[in-house]
């Protein structure tokens, strides 16, 4: 079995969640690497869009910015942010990858501030960017992040980006499109999904050598698990080769 690091495993897990023949709004970094890897393995017909306006590029090199020239490489269309966001609002974009400084049990994300005073936050973060929009519009929200207690919190300091909000029915009650919501959280410890009824985050698979207790120790809220928690399959040789040679040859991500 080949050796690999946590980042490589996370990217492979993220890639595997993406079905072929679907559309995906990505940012830079892990999401982009995951999409590029998925296209090279099982999803050649996965379409990438970037919120700045690129549609269906055939990425050669990982972009540094969501709007840089690299996002446009061999693209089918270069358009506007409103167009991309409205394709999403219209229901044409299946997946999106998002991140944040905090995530709670319902998949709500905070990328605005740490601390509760909006005028004088303890730490000011960049804000929503396009996250709130894509999380409102896309059918399945994916999060890839490191797993620690300061990040997986009982209650986000600021609800920047909607997950299941306060639980079952809350997205619909708020007016968000009916067919949307959090889908997977992929960390350096495990893969999580959401309980179909309670909409609470739940453990699906543990990464090799990770115990349930270790996940619980690193999660700031009580986390359930499906009945048959499995083990995350390790990256295959094919996945690692493509990731290392074609997706991230300069080790921007996997060298971290």
């Amino acid at each position: 079995m080949p050796s690999y690091n946590a980042m490589e495993l996370m990217i492979c897990c993220a890639a595997r969640t993406l079905e072929d023949r679907r559309t995906l709004a990505v940012g830079t970094g892990v999401p982009c690497a995951a999409a590029m890897l998925a296209q090279r393995i099982h999803a050649p017909n996965l379409t990438i869009v970037f919120e700045s306006g690129s549609v269906a590029p055939q990425l050669l090199t990982m972009p540094i910015s969501v709007g840089d020239s690299r996002t446009l490489y061999h693209a089918a269309m270069a358009t506007s942010m409103c167009d991309i966001m409205e394709f999403s609002q219209r229901g044409l974009i299946d997946y999106t990858f998002l991140g944040g400084a905090q995530i709670d049990v319902y998949g709500n994300l905070n990328s605005t501030q740490i601390g509760s005073d909006h005028a004088r936050p303890r730490v000011r973060l960049p804000g929503s960017g396009g996250a709130n929009d894509l999380a409102s519009f896309c059918r399945r929200i994916l999060v890839v992040t490191n797993h620690d207690k300061r990040r997986f919190v009982e209650r986000v300091d600021f609800l920047t980006t909607p997950g299941y909000l306060t639980g079952p029915g809350a997205r619909e009650a708020a007016g968000l499109p009916r067919d949307t919501g959090p889908y997977r959280v992929i960390t350096d410890l495990a893969v999580m999904g959401y309980h179909p009824q309670t909409k609470r985050m739940q453990l699906l698979t543990l990464h090799p050598d990770v115990t349930m207790q270790r996940v619980r120790d690193h999660t700031g809220f009580a986390i359930d698990a499906v009945a048959d928690v499995g083990q995350t399959p390790a990256p295959t040789e094919d996945e690692l080769r493509l990731l290392r040679e074609e997706v991230d040859p300069l080790r921007y991500l996997i060298g971290r």
Binding site: E51, G67, A78, M81, V123, R124, S128, N132, F137
Partner: protein, 335 residues
């Protein structure tokens, strides 16, 4: 139609289309020569207290020279649209907390302080955490949508974004029940900036402009702003624009000033022309670590340069720009 709730955020600009019509009633609709210098454009069209918006996205296709000049000329108390505003915000916020008064007074935030994968701006954080800039929260789409409402000449647009979040609570949006379907919607108020600056590949002297690649929110912004400054990589003759009108996306009657600024998005990326200068940006972020190092940096790069050509020279001149072109063309996969 029932109003359900409203955000607590302050509205920093007037969403009334009648007020905006009044403001542009006497704006020239004529094919006159609008060519000028960056310094003249800023001194004539950017005023203290203005609501300012900058085109592009992140470090991509940004009118850097205009932003430098706003800082250099020491404008005060601007309101600003921070929609994935990375290097432009970074430059502007150097006008706060450095002993030169307060350049930014209020910001509509979708994404500021961060430079995407490059990390956060230390000085930007210091200033924003000090509380000296009033902030109202939005998202990239809803801020673009506010430009779009203004471009359309109406006071608001509906969206299915913001709903259910603290971002809504700290915005100045409202939520309603749709009179046609009963579905809940957010309404975002139009944003008519006093002045905007946009960088493009090509423009003619009257202001007809076109660019390659993503338009981000620039077509909406060009139509929303009361005054508009265009900087371009290359001036082209009017006949060249009229040869293929399908490619023109900003018509001259929206434009107040045209400045030819080759490499004008530097250190940002210009699609098809040159990639971003990541070395320069890293050095910039490094310099922000203390007030002292930052003061030196700004003195050298902005206050100590005569104009943008001087700044380019300081940063390595044509040889460096040719290297960035090589990166942008993705020779050797962009390395």
């Amino acid at each position: 139609m029932i109003e359900l709730s409203r955000g607590l955020g302050e509205l920093f600009s007037d969403p009334s289309p009648d007020a905006a019509r009044l403001a542009i009633a006497e704006k020239s609709r004529s094919l006159t020569d609008k060519l000028t210098t960056v310094s003249d454009a800023v001194s004539r069209f950017v005023r203290d207290g203005d609501y300012l918006a900058i085109g592009g996205f992140g470090l991509n296709r940004i009118p850097t020279a205009i932003v430098h000049e706003i800082l250099r000329q020491g404008r005060q108390n601007l309101r600003f649209a921070g929609h994935t505003s990375t290097h432009d915000f970074q430059i502007l916020v150097a006008g706060n907390g450095m002993g030169n008064g307060r350049l930014l007074a209020a910001v509509d935030v979708a994404y500021i302080i961060g430079l995407e994968m490059r990390g956060l701006s230390p000085h930007g954080r210091r200033v924003v955490e000090s509380g000296e800039i009033a902030l109202t929260e939005w998202t990239n789409y809803t801020l673009a949508l506010r430009f779009k409402a203004a471009a359309m000449g109406i006071p608001f647009l509906p969206a299915r974004s913001l709903l259910g979040t603290d971002t809504f609570t700290r915005s100045a949006a409202r939520s309603i029940e749709c009179p046609f379907t009963g579905e809940k919607l957010a309404l975002v108020p139009a944003l008519y900036p006093d002045v905007a600056a946009i960088h493009v590949h090509e423009a003619d002297r009257h202001g007809n402009a076109r660019f390659r690649g993503m338009s981000v929110a620039d077509l909406e912004l060009a139509r929303a702003a009361k005054r508009l400054i265009i900087t371009c990589e290359r001036l082209v003759p009017e006949e060249e624009m009229r040869r293929d009108p399908t490619r023109t996306t900003i018509p001259y009657f929206l434009v107040d000033a045209v400045c030819e600024v080759p490499f004008g998005s530097y250190p940002g990326n210009m699609p098809g022309e040159y990639f971003s200068d990541e070395v320069h940006i890293r050095a910039w972020l490094e310099a922000e670590n203390t007030q002292e190092t930052y003061r030196d940096w700004l003195r050298r790069t902005i206050y100590g340069t005569r104009d943008f050509a001087d700044y380019l020279q300081l940063c390595g001149g044509l040889p460096r720009l040719q290297e960035l072109r090589r990166q942008d063309l993705m020779l050797d996969r962009g390395r």
